[in-house]
């Protein structure tokens, strides 16, 4: 059984602890949510899991094997893909080329990359946008392109960094459908980092809550909803606009 596992991962920046002994496991077909207040270390953890940041202590394991000192593109080739906050597409390139270059980067031939890119655009529901220049797309379509790009080469795991940021309820619901299909139809393990706690509670099988770099709670949606510690963490940042979301869904 293949698993992506953060094994007691700690990261320190110039003595400042960004993550301390974080444990997290994602299995194929599973949607794991990662939530927490701003600055909790969510993106740092994603960076560690995808090779963008080396852990100070601990290790990232794939099927139990430690993945140390591997570069992001090497992890990508082993089936760990991600999206970035804000998309980070090649904005001057057509949508199809954004996907195609990823396929080529993974070692596919040009023809194979074109074929997969075309099928992928269809699969994420933006087939008509293939020839558009990526930088001219509306926000929500841009996110779909980024997700499509991450899914090229059929990765075993995909890490989505705030894919719903700035989306309306309707748009977020459409995104949720897509994420369910990634786990269900592709059998891909999804790690979802989101500020929209309602979306995470709705979508995820398992949720990990980070605060100040440490895991303060894990469990299914019901357990997280009921957790005093989670409530407290969010209360701690009273100005945080996400508090009402939690209360409404609770």
């Amino acid at each position: 059984m293949s698993q992506l596992h953060a094994d007691k991962v700690s990261v320190a920046f110039a003595g400042l602890r960004a993550l301390s002994e974080v444990d997290l496991t994602v299995s194929p077909g599973q949607i794991v949510g990662l939530i927490g207040p701003n600055g909790a270390g969510k993106t740092t953890l994603v960076n560690v899991l995808t090779g963008f940041q080396a852990p100070t202590e601990g290790a990232v394991r794939l099927d139990g094997q430690p993945l140390s000192n591997l570069k992001p593109h090497e992890l990508r080739r082993r089936g760990i893909a991600r999206t970035f906050q804000g998309g980070r597409l090649f904005r001057d390139l057509p949508v199809i080329d954004n996907l195609e270059v990823t396929g080529v980067g993974l070692g596919q031939s040009r023809a194979a990359a074109i074929a997969e890119a075309t099928a992928m655009l269809e699969w994420v529901g933006i087939a008509p946008l293939g020839d558009r220049i990526a930088g001219t797309l509306p926000y929500t379509d841009e996110r779909r392109v980024a997700i499509g790009r991450a899914l090229m080469g059929k990765p075993s795991f995909v890490l989505l960094d705030e894919p719903a940021a700035g989306m309306s309820a309707q748009e977020a619901a459409e995104l949720a459908d897509l994420i369910r299909r990634i786990a269900g139809e592709m059998g891909c393990g999804v790690l979802l980092i989101e500020h929209n706690v309602g979306l995470v509670l709705d979508l995820c099988h398992h949720i990990v809550v980070l605060d100040s770099g440490a895991v303060i709670e894990t469990g299914g949606p019901a357990a997280i909803r009921a957790s005093e510690r989670v409530r407290h963490a969010y209360m701690g940042t009273a100005a945080d606009s996400h508090l009402p979301v939690l209360e409404v869904s609770a």
Partner: protein, 304 residues
């Protein structure tokens, strides 16, 4: 009518030269944010590769005697080879340096190449006879157009079309476009960075060699400074074209050629010696109104 046509061909031929050179600079700037000031010296080197080292005024021809179908690939290979070598020996070490440091390194490399030529060939311009058949004029609608001008324009158009096809249709071209826009992201996605950069240097060097062939045939001399003026104009073309934008560089190259040619015609005879001052004046005007260049490349503003 004849003289108007003459001006148009002059402008297009000069513009072609600038466009080819600007393209060589923009290609490298696109993938690694390096303004390669050694480009002009690669042009000079490619011409001198046709001669045996000697300090005499009369050139001792070496590869220059080859038939054209061997001579042209030979010179292109020399330009591409020197350019790739400069990447491997010099620029690769500066991959993480800031753009100003890389630019100064390119100046230094340019001087090394130039003084190497000076050592072997002296600073005296040498007369050479490179592809002499091309200096014959062709009569078109009353205008006498040098065959070389026609070939320069045709070659430039062919190179541009070829480059567009290459960038659009090939796997390497796709990787190069992605790397030019966001090098870090392309690398993270597995695009082979060193190969893409070497490819850009090879293309750029081959373009420099093409200019060397044109300049050498046009002027009939080999001069260690021959690339300097083209390089300066090409650099200006890449700036007003919008750094890193290939289309912008080509457009601005043609524009500069046209402005220079038109100035040559309309300026009063006494002022013609100062033509370049007027051209640069026009450049300043363009930059006052469009400091980001005519077609600005997004990559210069945000890099991840």
């Amino acid at each position: 009518m004849g003289s108007l046509l003459q001006v148009i061909f002059d402008a297009a031929a000069l513009g072609s030269l600038y466009a080819l050179a600007a393209l060589g600079i923009a290609l490298i700037f696109g993938v690694m944010r390096l303004v390669n000031f050694a480009h002009g010296d690669v042009i000079a080197f490619s011409v001198f590769a046709l001669l045996w080292p000697s300090v005499d005024a009369v050139a001792v021809v070496f590869a220059g005697n080859l038939p054209w179908f061997l001579l042209i690939p030979f010179v292109l290979a020399i330009g591409a080879g020197l350019s790739v070598l400069s990447e491997i020996v010099v620029f690769r070490r500066f991959r993480r340096a800031n753009p100003a440091t890389m630019m100064i390194a390119s100046f230094a490399l340019g001087f090394v190449i130039r003084y190497f030529l000076l050592m072997l060939f002296s600073s005296r311009p040498k007369s050479i006879s490179l592809l002499p058949a091309l200096s014959q004029p062709v009569e078109i609608m009353g205008a006498r157009i040098p065959l070389l001008q026609l070939i320069t324009i045709t070659v430039t158009i062919a190179v541009l079309l070829g480059l567009i096809a290459f960038l659009r249709r090939t796997r390497f071209g796709l990787e190069m476009r992605a790397a030019a826009e966001n090098f870090t992201m392309a690398r993270m996605l597995g695009v082979r960075a060193n190969r893409v950069i070497m490819g850009a240097f090879a293309l750029s060097g081959a373009l420099a060699a093409a200019i060397a062939l044109i300049l050498g045939s046009q002027t009939g001399t080999a001069n260690i400074m021959m690339g300097a003026n083209v390089m300066l104009m090409a650099f200006i073309a890449t700036v007003i074209g919008g750094m890193g934008s290939l289309a912008g560089a080509v457009l601005a190259g043609f524009l500069l050629g046209a402005v220079a040619t038109v100035m040559q015609v309309i300026l009063p005879p006494d002022a013609r010696a100062f033509r370049d001052a007027f051209v640069y004046g026009a450049v300043i005007l363009v930059l006052i109104f469009r400091p980001q260049g005519l077609l600005s490349a997004r990559g210069t503003k945000e890099r991840v």
